[in-house]
Symmetry: C2
Subunit: 214 residues, 2 copies
């Protein structure tokens, strides 16, 4: 598959781009917002394209042109206001879905948040963030794409353990970003993840094993 990684400059994005670059079966294209980020990827021999999630869908569709899959790993980050949450985590995500449809990239992986599908388990402090993720996920489910929605628990910068736990509903726990990237990589062509969403935390299974159990 030729895979567009949206949010390639983020931490999950960087891990995923590296996995895809080293892969025999996939080809990667990194979508970033700034020229210097694109230049960095290009210096590492990785194809990079510029597009802004706050720009028009057509720009994102152009970035996805010729791709088979799109992975949305972008996020407005914890330090921005709720207005950016709406414009990046919700509208940016849905524009990416529309762009994938427009570009004919039929496979779409979304990085969401644990229990985003379940309003009663949204963290009180950042309910608005969960709300944005919730509706981005639902808009994806209403799209024509072959989706997978990955809902990780608390993200850490620890090195990946290579061992995870995935299920429709899990208790909140942590997971290294590197392991989330490994699950995204494994999910790309795992048909057992098609048209599904699942919570994801650290556990005892390899990504391949965890995804087979869904």
């Amino acid at each position: 598959m030729r895979v567009l990684v949206i949010g390639a400059n983020g931490q999950i994005g960087r891990h995923l781009v590296k996995l895809l670059k080293d892969s025999d079966k996939h080809e990667v294209r990194a979508m970033v917002r700034k020229q210097e980020q694109a230049d960095e990827f290009k210096a590492d021999g990785i194809k990079a394209v510029l597009a802004d999630l706050e720009g028009p869908v057509s720009d994102i569709a152009a970035a996805a042109d010729g791709c088979d899959a799109v992975v949305f790993t972008a996020g407005s980050g914890g330090s921005t206001g709720a207005d950016k949450t709406l414009l990046i985590d919700l509208d940016g995500a849905v524009k990416s879905v529309e762009a994938a449809e427009e570009a004919g990239a039929a496979r779409f992986l979304m990085v969401s948040a644990i229990q985003a599908h379940n309003r009663s388990n949204w963290s009180e402090k950042i309910r608005h963030y969960f709300s944005a993720k919730h509706y981005a996920d639902r808009m994806l489910m209403n799209s024509s794409l072959t989706y997978t929605i990955v809902r990780p628990g608390g993200l850490t910068n620890d090195s990946g353990s290579g061992k995870v736990k995935a299920a429709e509903n899990l208790e909140r726990a942590d997971i290294p970003r590197e392991d989330v990237a490994a699950v995204l990589y494994a999910a790309l062509d795992e048909e057992n993840t098609y048209h599904k969403g699942f919570d994801l935390v650290s556990g005892d299974d390899t990504p391949a094993e965890a995804l087979k159990k869904l």
Copy 2:
């Protein structure tokens, strides 16, 4: 029709409740958040129910029990943060849609904002607000309800002129809240508005005439 007005204590809501109360063909129920607001309506002989848009869908569904139609006129208001925009204007609106489905209230009218369906015309200063309205509208369109999405221009507190203009796309202009309420009232059982959204500003037609032209 028995009509639940959500956001009955707001300005459009109050106008609409009055029209419904004075109507021969409809019956009104005002949904409000605070007991003193409910008491005020009850003192005027209007049935009122308490429910919070930040609460569970089941509470809103209980408020809609036995109703044929739901009109969403609520809004977080201009003075709150974007987090409330997400939780009221988006999540509160969609919870109302789900509550209407749960309660079997098949008709749903949404008060949206002019050009909310068209990202390229969102006001730069409050793009996040338009984004919230946009997705609330799209979630309603994806629901099982017989919807009408009314997208008024700049809202004023002027007395209604009784004359409006409605079309799928209009240039931004003002409209008194009282006229928006009159259009909602006229749209309730106007089949020509079913499964449609339209922009709305002041104009030359009565609400009934304007809705016939859609």
